[in-house]
């Protein structure tokens, strides 16, 4: 099909183009109160085409894109191409070159199930096996996806990625008797897991932890103090904090003047004793080695010990800034700190286990969120708490951030296990 589309484009005089072929197969099973509710299978093959036209003596580049959402006839594709050519003449940007390819390449990082739904059901039962009368999974959804994506452009890019992932959305729930707080007799938490391989031990560990967390949520007390407190963030909340922090330094943001920070500027004015942040963007797997423009991905250090080391982003905006495109990457590595988790947790603190959603606004210099579950350590003992929010200045928090030596890894980040932020407001 790609060759057919290329032939039509060339016949219409289009010599700059990009075609993406997306072939997806998904298997899913849905469980309600630990009983099977539904099974699903999806098969789809679609194409995305972008047509580029050099205009005004190569000063401008027009572009327009369209999908082929089903198997279209030649005349249907020709009509789409004609419409895109007309659109590209009116939708223009300063000229940039398409990514130059290095020929045909295939990147693979996948695993296959012989009988996907039966395997999915086994995964669900790893979760259910850990349940007991009070603790169970009121909702569980298991997804297995296989993707083959091929990207071709008019400058020699012909890259393919073959990937697969197993994902689980789990709602661990605890039903108990809590006469002093009837609205918290039945409690739940939200958990989402991505597994790059079928790692049954890891799945079982996650299931156990999810149920242990929800039991803590049941036992948690409403917090009874206001004021300032050290807060420990971890896992995806820390990943989101770092993601929001560096989002200001994409080529697009820089070109749009959303930031005026220059390479070499201090981003984190760390105080003595605090950990200076070093953040690296890198490909997330052996399969994810090129971005949607065909830029081959290599790791790039964005923050080096709190100093802006590089911008990052796509081909178009990199060329506008006269810089090398790094490509779009989501996998972040934050270098570990100097203290052990034990040292980090010596002083009184609140360790956040579950938030409604962390709020990080680098423009308004804000960090905060509503806490669903946390551990409170008062200097002597630790107990679970809920029903409060924390907030503070992002800049001030980063000045005194301390990171743990221990690290944790997920499909889209590698981070210290814990990050301690000082003196945030608790309400």
């Amino acid at each position: 099909m790609i060759r057919r589309i290329e032939k039509i484009l060339k016949a219409k005089g289009v010599d700059k183009y990009k075609i993406t072929e997306i072939n997806e197969e998904k298997y899913e099973a849905y469980y309600s109160l630990q009983k099977l509710e539904a099974t699903r299978n999806t098969e789809s093959l679609t194409y995305e085409v972008t047509v580029y036209l050099a205009l005004n003596d190569n000063k401008m580049l027009g572009s327009a894109s369209f999908n082929l959402p089903y198997n279209m006839t030649i005349s249907q594709i020709e009509k789409k191409v004609d419409e895109a050519i007309a659109s590209a003449k009116i939708a223009v940007a300063p000229y940039y070159e398409l990514v130059e390819g290095v020929g045909r390449k295939t990147f693979k990082d996948s695993f296959a199930f012989e009988n996907p739904l039966a395997e999915i059901d086994k995964v669900a039962n790893i979760f259910f096996k850990e349940a007991s009368e009070n603790k169970k999974f009121n909702s569980l959804e298991v997804f297995y996806k296989q993707l083959t994506l091929r990207l071709v452009n008019s400058k020699g890019v012909d890259y393919k990625k073959i990937s697969s992932v197993l994902e689980v959305e789990a709602i661990p729930s605890y039903d108990g008797i809590k006469q002093e707080d009837p609205s918290n007799q039945k409690v739940e938490l939200y958990k989402y897991y991505k597994y790059p391989t079928l790692d049954k031990e890891k799945i079982q560990k996650d299931a156990k932890e999810a149920l242990a967390d929800v039991e803590k949520r049941f036992k948690a007390k409403k917090i009874d103090f206001n004021g300032n407190m050290n807060v420990i963030l971890r896992d995806s909340d820390l990943n989101q904090l770092i993601g929001n922090l560096i989002s200001l330094y994409s080529y697009n943001a820089v070109f749009s003047k959303a930031t005026d920070k220059k390479i070499g500027d201090v981003i984190q004015d760390a105080k003595r004793g605090a950990d200076k942040l070093t953040v690296t963007l890198m490909p997330s797997s052996k399969a994810n080695r090129f971005d949607s423009d065909g830029v081959l991905l290599e790791k790039v250090v964005i923050l080096d010990k709190g100093v802006l080391a590089s911008y990052f982003g796509n081909n178009q905006y990199a060329q506008y800034l006269g810089l090398k495109p790094t490509g779009n990457m989501r996998y972040k590595k934050l270098e570990k700190g100097k203290k052990t988790a034990e040292e980090l947790k010596q002083e009184p603190h609140i360790e956040i286990i579950s938030l409604s959603g962390i709020q990080v606004d680098p423009y308004a210099d804000y960090i905060g969120g509503e806490v669903r579950l946390a551990n409170y350590f008062d200097g002597e003992k630790s107990y679970p708490i809920f029903g409060f929010s924390f907030s503070g200045s992002l800049t001030e928090s980063l000045k005194e951030i301390t990171l743990s030596k221990e690290t944790t890894k997920a499909t889209d980040y590698e981070m210290p296990r814990y990050a301690l932020l000082k003196d945030l407001n608790i309400l």
């Binding site: 699903r40 679609t46 039962n125 959305e169 959603g357 423009y363 309400l427």
Partner: protein, 466 residues
Amino acid sequence: MQKSFSKYLKSKKPVMASLLERLKDKYEHVGILGTDTLTTVCYVDYHSSNVGEDSNDCGFVIKVVHDGIYSEYATNELTMRRLDKIEEKIDELVKANMKTKKVGLKLAEEEKLTKSFSRKNKGKYLNKEEIITALKETVDLFKQEEKIVHAGARFMVEEISKVYLSKNKDLEQYYFFPSAFIYSVAADQGKTQMFYNSVDDISMSKVLKELPKKVKETASVARELLVAENPEPGIYDVITAPSITGLIAHEAFGHGVEMDQFVKDRALGKEYIDKPVASDLVSMRDGAASCFAIASYFFDDDGVLAGDTLVIDKGILKTGISDVNAASMLGTKPTGNGRRQAYDHKTYTRMTNTFFEPGKDKLKDMIKSIEDGYLIDVTNNGMEDPKNWQIQCTATIGREIKNGKLTGKVVSPVIMSGYVIDLLKSISAVSDDFKVNSGGSCGKGYKEWVRVSDGGPYLKAKVKIG
């Protein structure tokens, strides 16, 4: 643009009918949904413009109920030649070696209905060149605004065609929804801020005509945000503008009454039916037929006609909203709230247009009644907790009110949180204004995104800002 019901879907209806004929006696229930959604997007900013089409929600999903569960096969290739293969795929799904006990789903018999619905653009259809020209003119207006270093405008037309076929139903719908969005970036003394605004209507021309009128406000608020401070955490009397009123309706009780959560014992709401949950000034509705906005379809993805559900009546929780599966499990009537992100996603109970009904108070009197608080506006995001009724709503801007007057000072961002019932019971005034905003997308948890609207009047309430 398609401008009318999808020719592609029309051409596929005989294939859908043949497939239904093959399957209908084999399974307890068979429903086939065909979708063809075309989104045309035009974008202009200070430096560039582009035009694109997104038609990824174009395909078919075949649902069969069997042995106490349902199975679905979704594909974007439905042809007469593939029918044997598709039937084989469905049989494989049904026979999959699933050991887990089943929920015992049994769908109620559908009512007989054959109907076709259409809602087209009101007025002239504009071509892409006319749209790009109008967007450029709008973006150029920002260049006259002080401290605005970048701006952009995006115009989007969604054209949705759907067919639902089952033993008793043959439904077709086409609806058209134009909307636009502008943003500006303000910068001064090393600080940067961004603000956005949106317009929607049933007419393409009207959307583009209204857009330039939003430029001054969009630039002005971006400049105001440059000097905004974070609010001092505390409990405040606030007035929520319709955007935030809608966010509260959506997060506080919209998610809380999605009845697929009742089935999974995930919502406290099911224990509060016919009980007070809010101040008696509060009435709340949800439904594709409740008002005209982005989620105003004619039938849902289960083939159930659009509904208008009175969720809260003068402070009393009356009922929830549901899709066909949840209604069957609970023994209730579906309310037309079964929605999929796309043909290749499952149906869940989802909100549509959710809002509080207007009251009788005047906004100026409500402002006068506040000694120390904020007028809170512009939705940023929110998060639900139907099981334990915690809520988090983030507003972009808070305007300080002292001694009954707006002082001109602004704070940002404003994160409200607390216990849903405390918040709803604290509502002490409801204005006679009413506005619904179609700019939103809603997820179930952190996935399954669908377009929704929400809104209502101005509300006076007591909230925790942290």
